[in-house]
């Protein structure tokens, strides 16, 4: 069986097929993509209309997380919560 990619057109022909005036494809915002994927993985019903609001808050959380992540801590540091039974 021949693979499609094996059939290559001459370079000139390919060049002429490229749309001349199309603006460069907009890359999807990785946080919005994460929101959509995370919602699916966790079975969270995030309405597409809410995505930008959730993404805004997730960016905020991640900006705070960066602050914490940049701070060097010894490997031996234990997490803080103490639970008493």
């Amino acid at each position: 069986m021949r693979r499609k990619s094996a059939v290559r057109k001459p370079k000139a022909a390919r060049k002429t097929r490229r749309p001349a005036r199309r603006s460069p494809a907009k890359r999807p915002d990785p946080i919005v993509t994460l929101v959509a994927a995370g919602a699916k993985a966790l079975a969270l019903p995030i309405d597409p209309v809410w995505r930008e609001g959730v993404a805004f808050n997730l960016r905020l959380i991640l900006s705070h997380a960066t602050q914490v992540d940049e701070f060097p801590l010894p490997d031996e540091t234990e997490p803080a919560p103490v639970f008493r039974a």
Binding site: A39, I46, N57, V68, L73
Partner: protein, 468 residues
């Protein structure tokens, strides 16, 4: 003969009311009826109550009057009306926690521990109070119940999430109320409404029978119009409770009798660096309090800004974890602003949340070292006086910031490690603002003594709104 005219409940302290009832100058029933009448007249404007427990309150007041008539000793808070943020269980009612969803929950079978303890001390519960949905709020706005309104200016925020607690006390409806404080939810409304507020040491007061938010950060405490009331109410609520797994087995340490010791010998410093707010009202409040206390040295709370970030991440993540099932089943029934924050929190990477908890441990050990040098630290409670209801942003140190997430930027680094704090109100025209008095773990007595001294000097005071 029993005088039937109730004291001026609108601005009487709990101490005054208890003394009047105890001495027979009025009755518990008269006091409660006056409070109910005041709520009926004023709360349609303030919007602080979500339920008024009139029948229960009158029954309780009659029982107190009957006990007194029998010659039984009067308890310390005899006949003092109070109300609670609606995340406290009240037997026979669903615990709303500011939400629409919880209206469908079964009624609570028992009162929260702190309500039981206050009623055992003679106080009378008269209702449940408005709050930000699920306590994830600094503004006091609520899409389901409407915003509680600031008694000093009805167009302005109360602060949150203990919004109704602050509005009811500052509005003269009750002399004290209970709230909860995860990141600043007692101290922020105390500041914007001009009240005394106590966030005790983590694990000091029982949270049993309260709807949670962030288990490792949740505290409960009172708001009042005087430091003495704060201390009396706090004393009545102390003690171990096996129903709250975070409640420390720590002996009760009554404070009210210590208040008059003053501040002599206490080493007090002003928080520098991150806490140096440049707004006129915050500068005035901190400077005024520091001058009155002779606090002329600054102290650096190390990595406070990062601590606030850690609190932010932990809150988002633990809060989302609590509400995951509700987000799956009833996302549309949340306040949209709260829902978006919780959904984002559900997607926060666990590796960073754990790192925030590790940082929290490091930060705690560093801050505790400071208390070898000082007994108390002063810091602003909020960066500004009350914003307008609906206001989305404010400017702080030349940077425009969202209101909802940032009113607590000076409270979060403190509650992250569970230190006790008293917010003391400083009169400032046209609106009040508060200063935090931060003490070492289990030293609520130090913060309350300082608060009382400031009140005695006239530096701290709960401003009486013009309408009252």
């Amino acid at each position: 003969m029993l005088e039937t005219v109730a004291p001026d409940l609108r601005w009487s302290t709990a101490a005054d009311i208890a003394a009047a009832v105890g001495a027979g100058r009025t009755s518990a029933v008269s006091v409660v009826e006056a409070a109910l009448a005041r709520i009926s007249a004023r709360d349609p404007v303030l919007n602080s109550f979500t339920a008024v427990t009139e029948r229960r309150a009158l029954m309780r007041a009659r029982a107190l009057d009957a006990a007194r008539a029998r010659g039984e000793p009067t308890p310390p808070l005899c006949g003092v009306p109070f109300a609670v943020k609606n995340l406290f269980d009240i037997a026979g009612m669903p615990t709303l926690a500011g939400s629409k969803i919880n209206r469908d929950a079964p009624a609570a079978k028992h009162d929260a521990t702190l309500i039981e303890r206050l009623e055992a001390a003679g106080a009378v519960l008269i209702g449940a109070l408005n709050m930000g949905e699920y306590a994830y709020d600094f503004t006091g706005e609520n899409v389901h119940d409407g915003p509680a309104r600031n008694p000093h200016d009805l167009s302005r925020m109360t602060g949150g999430s203990s919004s109704g607690s602050a509005a009811a006390v500052a509005g003269g409806l009750v002399p004290f109320a209970l709230g909860s404080d995860t990141n600043g939810s007692i101290r922020v409304p105390a500041s914007l409404c001009g009240l005394f507020g106590l966030k005790p040491t983590y694990g000091r007061l029982s949270r049993a029978g309260t709807f949670p938010f962030v288990a490792s950060l949740d505290h409960v405490g009172p708001l009042a119009r005087s430091a003495r009331d704060l201390a009396s109410v706090y004393d009545a609520m102390q003690g171990y409770d096996a129903r709250d797994s975070a409640c420390a087995d720590h002996a009760a340490e009554p404070v009210a009798a210590l208040l008059d010791r003053g501040t002599a010998g206490l080493r007090i410093a002003v928080a520098g660096g991150y806490f140096k707010c440049r707004t006129a009202e915050a500068v005035y409040a901190v400077d005024h309090v520091a001058a009155a206390l002779g606090a002329n040295r600054d102290i650096d709370i190390p990595q406070a800004e990062r601590a606030r970030s850690a609190a932010f991440i932990i809150t988002a993540s633990e809060g989302a974890s609590l509400h995951l099932d509700r987000l799956r089943a009833r996302a549309r029934d949340f306040d949209p602003a709260v829902r978006d924050r919780l959904l984002a929190g559900a997607l926060a990477p666990a590796s960073l949340v754990v790192k925030a908890q590790k940082f929290r441990r490091w930060y705690r050990s560093e801050v505790l070292k400071l208390f070898a040098e000082v007994d108390a630290i002063l810091a602003p409670a909020t960066p500004c006086t009350a914003p307008l209801i609906g206001q989305r942003t404010f400017t702080l140190n030349d940077v425009e910031l969202p209101v909802r997430a940032n009113l607590g930027l000076y409270t979060q680094p403190i509650s992250l490690i569970g230190l006790p704090v008293v917010a003391v109100p400083v009169p400032f025209a046209p609106l009040p603002i508060a200063v935090q008095i931060v003490a070492a773990p289990w030293r609520e007595d130090v913060a309350l003594r300082i608060a009382h001294a400031l009140e005695t000097k006239g530096v701290a005071a709960a401003m009486r709104p013009k309408e009252i």
